[in-house]
Amino acid sequence: MKQTLIDRRHILKFLGGSALGTALTPLPWKVLDDVSIWTQNWSWIPVPPKGEKLVRHTTCALCPAGCGVKVSCIGAQPVGLFGLPGHPTSRGFLCPAGLLGHHLPYDPRRVAQPSRLMAESRRALPAEQILSELGKGLARLKADPAAGRVAIIDSLPGRSTSIAYRRLASQFTGGAYIVPPDPVRRSLGVFDGIAGEAYPELGIDVKRARMIVSFGADLLEGWGTPARLLSGRQASDQGPLLTQIEPRYSNTAAMADSWLPVRPGSELMAALGLAAVLVNEKLFPADLLPSVQALNEMADFRELLAALPPSRCGDLCGISPEAVARTAREMAAHFPSLALVGGNCSGGPFDKNDHLAINFLNLMTGAAGGEGGIVPRRSLPDPDFDVEGAELASPTDLSQVPDESIAFLVIDSTVPRQAIPSALIQRKLVPGEAVVLAFASGTQYSDLSPYVLPVPLYLEAFQEIPTPSDSPVASCSFSVPLVPAPPAAVSSVQWLNRLASSARLDWPELSDDSLADARIKGIWSCKRGSVYGYSDGTAKANSDFASAGELTTVFKSGACWLDSPADAVKPQLTGSAYFRPETWGRLRRAVNQGIEVVSKQTNDGVIVMPFSTALATTIASPLAAKLTRESDLYARPGVAVISPSTAGRLALQEGQKAEIETSNGCLRVRIRLDESTAPGMVFVPVSESDASGAHPDPRNVCEISEDGVWRATPAKLRRLDV
């Protein structure tokens, strides 16, 4: 019998076979799998917080729209924000900036300490030292008004905190309480007083409009309360017919049913051209006939409309005459049709004449004072606290303040946007001597403000959101604190108390709670409207609340109060400015000036127009920058958008560095080509979140007119790398 011998060959065969067999088993893959899992658990990979998931409700305080917010929290920490579907005004809408609101406290640019600009660097200083320096300055101005005026810019007017600001301004001779340029408020101001004393304010009934002619209003992006229009468009595929009249192909223009790319500065002529068609073809509602007859008796009115037939209007505006006539006829076929005046939120407001001309369309379509148009509304009830004997400064526009007159400026930066260009503010300051103090949480006006005192951010404090400018009824809600503010950040009211004490002013000690309670008591006392509570998903009549305290409890869980709609009011339109001959004389002069401006644009150079986007805030989440980098939805900071034909004319190419030169200075940009841009136009994004100075605010090189308008500026554009 042959003996089985295990030799070296057998061992090698066995090992080789084993290796081969193992490779065919799941073992190597299991090892690989385990290694993969193991390498995913490095200590530096963040571990999300654990805990009970809760849902809370609040109101977004990042802009005046006051959208309802559903907050997902783990314990006390917000981890996700979404729109609140049941909210009576925002209806589940939350803009991109609002979705990231819970990231703001962690922005590295967050201001958490009182600081002062010293030798071109910002240094943290004790609050007492800053208040002492500022208090001395205020006391000096109180004693010597000739040294300059005290002014306050309130980024969110209409709050109970605003009363504290107005009271401070009234303490000084010539003190000014300044509100930022709000296109809606400016526009509706044309019809002030048409509904009598009971309805001192006006709102916009966008929801029931059948057609909207928007002059530069970014209706589908951030204008007013965007949800009002978006919900209408969501409800049906038709929605209101939207015609967008603006030089830039904005996202709203892209979504509109038609876009009329007019030349910048020609909107006034476009509006009057449309009005001319409505009047000449008698396309206005029949009940307006007496009004039109009254208007026709004014020579300037007749001559102005006669001078702007569709052919002439189209020629001046850079659009076809057919488009002018068609749009006017569509307006007549879709009553109630509404004309809205925009001006991109930071990009640049329209002037008073534009507002007058565009709102005349609302008069001619019956939208002024009618359903689906401009509707009367009551005021938000005043806070119920004793202000007897205290004078309150009236709101004013910065353009009304004389140049070089402000010696002490307080800037409230509750809304994280720079609605007014620094250059316009600078013009109003006493050269070399003015003191600027910002109550800020981000980088607002950091180039202007030697002194910064930190205030809580959205989600860190109980903040009042008063009625949005476009709301058809008065409303009020509060943003609820969900995360703690940095220890040094206290509310602007508390800073005002300490500042007034330091300056030894006659000043009542105010508190945030007392102001909020006073507002809520005022609302409760009026007994009107309904309160929408989200913790229990109910709407309850205001009159059913037994006490103001009960209402306060509901507000602190994120409720919203809406006034009841106005009773049927017949507006007295004949009292409006349109029935005064001087208005038409003024518009006639404005048209002549506009023709001059437009003819210059046609001949040479380029026109610079700044524009802003929903994500351009002074404090932001890193995800906002990521979105801008990784998509072309939002223009990147520092670019200039031009058409390929303009690029060809100026020998520029995509990505090249270039310089924009205006009469106010130069701006370095990088060229971006866009087929939808009109030849000769240069659109530059306002990058408010940039405090490094790498991308300066383009508005500061624009020409700012006497009435604070910076829409379009003639400029030269040339390449830099030659």
């Binding site: 981890v79 892209a254 990521k626 998509s631």
Partner: protein, 265 residues
Amino acid sequence: MSDNMNHKQEAGGTRPVRHRFGMAVDLDRCNGCGACMLACSVENNIAPVPEEADDRKGITWIRVYRARNGAAFPEARTVFVPVLCQQCGHHTPCVSVCPQQAVDVDQETGIVGQIPERCLGCRYCMAACPYHARYFNWWDPVWPKGLEKTLNPAVAPRMRGVVEKCNLCHGRLQAAQAKAAAEGRRDVRAEDYQPACVEACPTGALVFGDLNDAASQVSQLARGPNSFRLLERLKTEPNTYYRSKRRWVRELAAQGVTRKEESVG
């Protein structure tokens, strides 16, 4: 549009799925605000990658592209096209190429899932995906100080070296499954949850639901006359449908297919 809408799809060409969760995207409503992209990043703990990241290296499970009609001013027009994982229902390309079985199709929902723990980072799936809807983690996930407190506990951050993609908010699906189980149901329905992008969309452009349910809104929208899918000629049967009344938008998709077929031929 495919004519087998009402038939159960075969994932990977093998087994039928119970539900077919998918999406209908109305391109006429998308206003390009990017809220879907941000909501997705917040929900799924997608880290803000370093500044050198661009549209190729950055991670955005849903990405809104701007498509143009090619005309010059003033006829130039734009449409915003949200592109996310199309949840291919037939011969899913990423499934078939993955050497690690890190991609699979859920037989309950038809959702194409990605298991980052299994992923080797070979990126075959990225090469195979015709929709460029997969993203590679080029960097460790890092958030600015303090921001890690805002992470969603339902989703684990992924590390450098793995591929990730839209899974129609798996964390939310799990929560819906848990809720359904608590209510004594074994079956989770599309109505039980919404992906974050759908919830955040301010214009209602995104509609989510079960394409196997003929009565669902998403199913009706998908069958609409203006509905189409991306790269239908590949026969991957995506569960994401697009619709637009604008002829040039639909023609844009058709032109793309024609050009490609011509070059292949």
